[in-house]
């Protein structure tokens, strides 16, 4: 993330043209290539912005941002007051209170959303090193340990791996299959999970809420 506070003029050319006269503004350049120009007001809305993918060329006092659609943002820097950059790393995503717990609750009520014929044994099944979110049985009666996350990342897969290791020591349960459920599963997490024989299921929170309510839908 790079933040530049500068006195600048901004010209946008695309389907129309727009001009911002000289003033002090915040220019935000995000790691994914998004460029946004903010004034000291107007809440979260930038005055001008270009969504990634962009190409940013820094000339002598002039930045040119272009995108594949042929739109161009030209930022002329008259005076740079601040120029800082910081690597923010991977973002853990917006964590809304209760959503993950609600997701677990909904999946406990509708385990078939995770797989055909799946039935719930119990929620928060103790493994000795912490509770696995759901313990289910598949139609053949085999145990399935389910870890539920809002965002499926590698640490979630590692967590489920540890639980599976513990659960598979129980002669009454083993073999225990692993199932990693999340609203969105990152590709790296999916590769790691599938490499370890753990199934991955992406679930739609809104659909589940629809299931939980009495609303009937056509699809």
């Amino acid at each position: 993330m790079r933040l530049v506070i500068a006195r600048c003029t901004v010209d946008y050319a695309g389907r129309l043209t727009a001009h911002l006269p000289s003033a002090v503004r915040l220019i935000m350049v995000k790691a994914d290539g998004c460029v946004a120009v903010h004034a000291d007001g107007g809440a979260y809305k930038p005055l001008n912005w270009m969504n990634a993918p962009n190409t940013l060329i820094e000339g002598d006092g002039v930045w040119t941002v272009t995108d594949p659609k042929g739109e161009m943002l030209t930022i002329t820097l008259h005076e740079v007051l601040l120029d800082v950059a910081e690597d923010c790393g991977d973002d853990p995503g917006l964590s809304k209170d209760g959503v993950e717990a609600h997701l677990q609750e909904l999946l406990a009520a509708h385990p078939t959303a995770l797989g055909d014929g799946l039935t719930l044994v119990r929620r928060e099944y103790q493994t000795g090193i912490g509770p696995v979110d759901l313990l289910c049985r598949d139609p053949e009666g085999r145990a399935v340990a389910v870890e539920v996350k809002r965002r499926g990342e590698i640490d979630g897969v590692e967590q489920l791996t540890r639980y599976l290791d513990r659960l598979n020591r129980d002669p009454l349960l083993r073999p225990v299959r692993g199932l990693f459920a999340a609203q969105r599963i990152k590709p790296q997490a999916r590769v790691l999970a599938e490499d370890r024989g753990i199934y991955c299921v992406e679930v739609d929170y809104d659909d589940l809420r629809g299931l939980a309510s009495d609303e009937l839908r056509l699809f």
């Binding site: 389907r15 129309l16 043209t17 727009a18 005055l47 009495d214 609303e215 009937l216 056509l218 699809f219």
Partner: protein, 378 residues
């Protein structure tokens, strides 16, 4: 630029252009209507970057030119003008409007900032429909499109053109409306048009009558009328495969007077209006009577019976009253046929055949309009 125009024609044109004026504060030019005089015609253009509108009206042109004026302000001004000829003249950066004894000076915006409008391809295959049929099709179908932007593909009307027919479909996942009309273009094309664009085109078809020309292209759709044109971008994404949702058969079939059922549903549903969530209406169907009930002990209850012919076993089924009334309104026929499987499966509503008596269950009405409605669990 200088012209003299009839007040009503000028006002209608400005009002129409105003409907597609954009509201993005960061792009001020979008909030304007571009006025251009070329000889004895005034051309008006506006865009919100989704829908581009262009139209022209005859005027007494005195000096050619083009200006950009704030759309809302211009519309507010012309709406209040007295019934007299309007004279418009530009000097420097002001548009002087004179009508009777009323005078307005409207500040102009830089006309060069106004974006170029989307142009239909010159060699595209244009299909022509009767304006009345087009307007009716949109009115029947578009209301079932979703207003929730969370699922953009459901906020549009899917137009599927095949040899000889055009099928318009919209659904918000609770109900679905589908109408098929004759189509004089052979090329197979499917486009997903924003509901707002369809409604704007319908408005034009209703006020202008005559015919509407449709040009379906991969990235945009153009609706052309005698003096105006709308070009809309399309919604990206795949529209659900809705044909598989239409039940192949039914267990029960009700034939009922459409207007009477609609009136009863609306009347009975009033007891649910004070609720924040919609209170369903329940239809109690028996051989020759439809009993419509709504409400609960907490708020109040209502019921009313009307005659209806049911083939099959008795059934109790509940619906969102607004969606049911929408379907009945859209069907338009004197009587409607409702087909049911059970109380949790979608019901199919179609206009009943024109002949007085409904035929046996096997002779389904070959209507070109279909409304699929999901019941509510009670």
């Amino acid at each position: 630029m200088k012209f003299r125009a009839e007040r009503s024609e000028f006002a209608d044109a400005v009002m129409w252009a105003q409907r597609t004026v954009g509201d993005r504060a960061t792009l001020p030019a979008l909030s304007g209507i571009k006025l251009r005089v070329d000889g004895d015609r005034l051309f008006l253009a506006s865009t919100n970057l989704e829908i581009d509108s262009a139209l022209s009206v005859p005027v007494q042109g005195e000096r050619d030119g083009a200006v950009l004026v704030l759309g809302k302000l211009l519309a507010d001004v012309v709406r209040t003008l007295p019934n007299a000829a309007v004279t418009a003249e530009v000097t420097a950066d002001v548009l002087h409007l004179t009508c009777g004894r009323a005078q307005f000076d409207l500040r102009l915006m830089p006309v060069e900032d106004f974006p170029a409008l989307k142009e239909p391809s010159a060699d595209g295959a244009v299909a022509v429909m009767k304006a009345e049929e087009f307007a009716r099709t949109v009115a029947q179908v578009a209301r079932s499109a979703s207003t929730d932007d969370a699922r953009p593909v459901l906020t549009g009307v899917n137009l599927e053109a095949t040899a000889g027919s055009l099928t318009a479909v919209a659904t918000d996942s609770y109900r679905l409306a589908m109408r098929t009309v004759p189509w004089d273009q052979g090329a197979d094309t499917t486009v997903l048009v924003p509901r707002r664009a369809m409604e704007q085109a319908r408005h034009a078809a209703e006020i202008l009558g005559s015919e509407v020309s449709l040009l379906l292209e991969p990235a945009q759709v153009t609706f052309s009328f005698s003096d105006r044109r709308l070009v809309t971008r399309l919604i990206e994404g795949k529209f659900p495969d809705v044909r598989q949702l239409i039940p192949a058969g039914f267990e029960r079939r009700l034939t009922v007077d459409r207007a009477e059922l609609m009136e009863v549903v609306k009347r009975v549903a009033v007891v649910g209006d004070s609720n924040t969530s919609v209170t369903p209406v329940t239809l109690h169907l028996s051989a020759d009577t439809v009993l419509v009930k709504a409400g609960s002990g907490e708020i109040g209850q209502a019921e009313e019976a009307l005659p209806g012919a049911l083939e099959g076993e008795d059934l109790q089924i509940a619906f969102n009253p607004r969606y049911l009334a929408d379907g009945l309104d859209a069907a338009g026929s004197e009587r409607v046929v409702l087909e049911f499987r059970d109380e949790l499966k979608p019901a199919v509503l179609r206009p009943a055949p024109a002949d007085a008596e409904a035929g046996p269950a096997s002779s389904r009405p070959e209507a070109d309009f279909l409304y699929l409605l999901m019941p509510v669990r009670v």
